[in-house]
Each structure stands twice: as C-alpha cells, then as structure tokens.
C-alpha cells in the first residue's frame, strides 16, 4: 500500500510537469490577455491545491506517528472531570432512541446526558422521556434553533466538560473516554471527534463517506498537528466549560454554529485538537437535492462565521494562527470552488477552440491522482472499505463539480444577502 501511494505521488509529479508544459504552450499559442491571465491563475490555483494536499498529508502522517503506544496507554479514565453530554433535538423521533442508548453505553463513568427537545412537532420529547433516569435528563423548550438549544442544555448542566452530540448520531463506546484525556492540557479549549457515514447504500452516500474520511484523516489530523482544527463537527465535539463561558457560549447569528464557536475559541487563544478514534456514526443525505441543501447551508454558515471574524483576515491582533485559519477557510470555501469551476470552463473552451486538446485529460488526471493518493492514505489508516478508494474517480468526474456549483450559488446568495432557513433534513433512522 505505501508503495501504491509513492507510485501515485510520482505520477502526480509527472502529470504536474505535463500540465505545466501544456499550459505554457497555450500561453504562447493564444495571444490574448484574458487567456494569459487565466493560465497564470490556473497555475497558481493548481500549485496551491497540490501544496495543500501534500502539507496536510505530511502533517497527518506526523500526527499519526506521534500517537505512539505510550499515548494510547494514556487512555485512562479521568473520573474527576464530569462530562455533560448535550443532545439538541428537533423532530428526531426516528433516531433519538438509538442516539441516547449509544450514550448510555459509554465506558466513561462520570457523565450526565441532557437531551434538549427544541420544540419538536413530532414525538421526540415523549420518546426521549422513556430513557429518563439518574444519568439522563430530558428538557424541552419552545423552538429557537440549535444554538439556543445547546446553550439551554449547558445552563442546566453541571459538568466540567461539555460534549455536544447531534441527535442523529451514534457514538462508539469509548468516545467520551478518549476525548476527555486531551483536557489534561489546560491550553486545550475543545476536541473534535471523527464522523463516519453509516448509510453507505448508494453512490452519493459512498462518495460522502470518502469525503468524510479524507476530511477527517487528512485535513483534521493535519490541522490537529498544529492544534488548529477549524470546525468541531456537530455530531461529536467536546468543550471545556470555562472556555465556552469565556467566549459567551454559542451565538445565534450564523447557520454554522459549530464553526463559529470553534473560531471564537481559537480567537480567544485556545488550542483545538482532534481525536480520530472517537467516532460518531451519522446519516448522510441519500438524495442529491438533500445533499445540495446541506452543502448550501454549510457554505453560507461558514461564510457567515468568517465574516464575523473578518477583522483577523487583515490584522493578526496578536493571533497570527487565527489569521492563517481564516485565510485557509476562505480558500477552501470560496476560492477553491470558484477556481475549480473557472478552470474547468476555461479548459473546455481551450479544448473546443484548439480541437480536442489533451490538457483537459491531463488536468483531470492530475486531480484524480491527487484524490486517489489521499483516499488510499485515508483508507489505510482507517477501517473503511478499500472499495471506497475507487470512488475517488467518480468524485472528480462529476460529484465535486455539482457540489462546487452549489457552493458558488450559496456564496453568491450570501453575498447578495438572500434570506435562508435552517433547512432540516429528513432522517431515515439508519444509525
């Protein structure tokens, strides 16, 4: 397997060279200022994307290497730290039971579970009430959004650490125990866990499964090498209560409250880490329009969170790491989708103008090889199926194009200030 990754990286270098040569030929062949600018932009963008992949992969390899045997032996219980698990739930009757049961199976002893029914219109509250015990409390409040439900739960909690778990997620039994150990370090404000797709029934959910393991094992592992994880995922995240109180708990002014609260913690100087073995299994959208709906909300939410902290984009304000994180997020959520579609359209134009130019094929191959190398590495360090690697080809062939278009439309609508609602997805109850 490592040999396959090296082979893929060598092919990558070769393809990068061919692409550069072909682009240079076009640069010389077509005497047009717009074409010249486009070629320069594409070269810069492609270099940045390759650098981003390689840096994150190397950081991730270092990070995995650092998780030595000694560190895994550290997985002792820290029973002096009480954990309050907050489960905000709105119309989650299909999944709430299984979610609570998975929390009750946690090996960490010192915890309480607080389910906050956010004014559900279905039987969520009644079903959750069935599990009420000494360890589980079920609260209800009028509907006010996820962030208000989380804050409501925090106000009624008594833990030193707050864990937020989505109601459509199921945790592995040692997730809490694994995450608690990070809080020995007083500089740690929060820890993210891994999210895996549980309903891998069709190509859309399998492509998302691939996306999730790449996002987690390459991106988040890489970010955690610097302790600069930029999003604590909704399905599984743990926070130090003092840190949350210091930043004023969750705000209600974005549609990506998890991203916003993470940025607030980073801005307050806290480190944010990642535990890859603490796993939450979650349902991914099974239909394309539901997936677009989810990505639309994520994109706009992330842009809203970036806008809130935009001061750090131009001035470090004593936190250069925060400036770096914000530029990185801006690159991933705005520049990348725009440049990807721009480059695709430009290469289509070149192909049609110059006859069938092979640059389109080489450019596609370059990114596909990059995705294949990333996917293979991620499958290697997780227990996911090897067959997922081959979805990297479909991922580049059509999936990412459709997602990037949705992100571009979402960005334009956010820029124009078009109104939006939360856009809750229907659960299928597959956790």
């Amino acid at each position: 397997m490592p040999f396959a990754i090296i082979l893929l990286l060598l092919s990558l270098t070769y393809l990068a060279f061919i692409n550069l040569t072909e682009l240079y030929t076009i640069f010389q062949l077509i005497d047009n200022v717009f074409v010249s600018i486009a070629v320069i932009l594409i070269v810069i963008f492609t270099s940045l994307v390759i650098l981003r992949y390689l840096i994150l992969m190397f950081f991730s390899i270092f990070r995995v290497g650092l998780k030595t045997e000694a560190e895994s032996r550290k997985k002792a219980f820290h029973s002096h730290l009480k954990v309050s698990i907050i489960v905000p739930a709105y119309n989650e009757e299909v999944v709430i039971g299984r979610s609570i049961v998975s929390l009750l199976h946690q090996t960490y002893p010192n915890l309480e579970v607080i389910v906050v029914d956010d004014g559900s219109k279905d039987h969520t509250y009644r079903l959750a009430k069935r599990y009420e015990s000494q360890r589980v409390r079920v609260l209800t409040k009028p509907n006010g959004g996820k962030s208000r439900a989380i804050n409501f739960g925090i106000e009624h909690s008594s833990g030193d650490l707050i864990m937020v778990v989505d109601a459509d997620s199921r945790l592995n039994d040692d997730a809490v125990a694994l995450m608690v150990q990070y809080f020995d370090d007083p500089g740690i404000g929060a820890v993210a866990g891994s999210v895996y797709v549980v309903n891998q029934h069709n190509s859309i959910t399998r492509l998302q499964a691939l996306e999730y393991i790449e996002g987690l094992n390459m991106v988040r592992n890489g970010q955690s090498f610097l302790k600069l994880v930029n999003i604590i995922p909704g399905p599984i995240g743990m926070f130090r209560i003092e840190a949350l109180r210091k930043v004023g708990l969750y705000d209600h002014d974005t549609f990506a409250e998890d991203c916003d609260v993470t940025l607030k913690l980073l801005a307050a100087g806290y480190a944010v880490d990642f535990e890859s073995d603490a796993v939450a299994y979650t349902e991914a959208p099974e239909h394309l329009l539901d997936l677009i709906k989810q990505r639309y909300r994520w994109t706009r939410g992330i842009l809203q969170a970036i806008r809130k902290h935009r001061g750090y984009l131009v001035r470090t304000q004593g936190r250069p790491s925060m400036t770096f994180v914000l530029w990185y997020m801006l690159f991933e959520s705005v520049f990348w989708p725009f440049m990807d579609i721009f480059a695709t359209v430009f290469l289509l134009y070149i192909t049609l103008v110059t006859g069938v130019n092979s640059l389109l094929f080489f450019w596609w191959s370059l990114f596909t090889i990059l995705d294949l190398a990333g996917a293979l590495y991620c499958v290697l360090i997780t227990k996911e199926k090897l067959s997922l690697v081959f979805y990297a080809i479909l991922y580049r062939l059509y999936f990412i194009g459709i997602i990037n278009l949705a992100k571009i439309f979402a960005t334009i609508e956010e820029w124009m200030g078009v109104g939006m609602t939360w856009g809750k997805l229907d659960r299928k109850g597959r956790i």
Partner: protein
C-alpha cells in the same frame, strides 16, 4: 483516435453534462424548497379551522416521495 484523445473527448462530454446537471440540480433544489415553504404556510392548523369554520379537522395519512407514511 488514440486513447488520450478518446479520454479527453469522454471527459469533455462528462464535464459539460455535469455542469449543466449541476446548475439544473441547484435550481431544482430551490424550486423544491420554495414549494415546501408554500406548503408549510398552508398547513397552519388554527388558520384552517378559522377559514373552514369547523371545530375539528380530520386528517388522512398519505405517502410522500420516499414512501414513508407522514
């Protein structure tokens, strides 16, 4: 036609189709969401009671999209 030319042509066609399909899918999503909003606006229980001038509404179970009873 050699292999690279064939692959370029195939990717050209798939890319064009993806771009068209991506734009269509986005607008389909927008249409679906706007229809849902209209649907939700029509579902106010008290409003319908008031409009119909009746004390109760009798609901009928129907199947939508995925076959799940609602």
């Amino acid at each position: 036609m050699n292999l690279i030319t064939f692959m370029t042509f195939a990717i050209l066609v798939i890319t064009i189709l993806t771009l068209v399909f991506g734009i269509l899918a986005y607008f389909l999503y927008k249409v679906r969401e706007s229809k849902k909003k209209v649907h939700v606006a029509e579902e106010g229980y008290e409003e319908i009671l008031e409009k119909k001038g009746v004390p109760y509404l009798f609901l009928k179970q129907v199947r939508i999209d995925d076959g799940t009873p609602r």
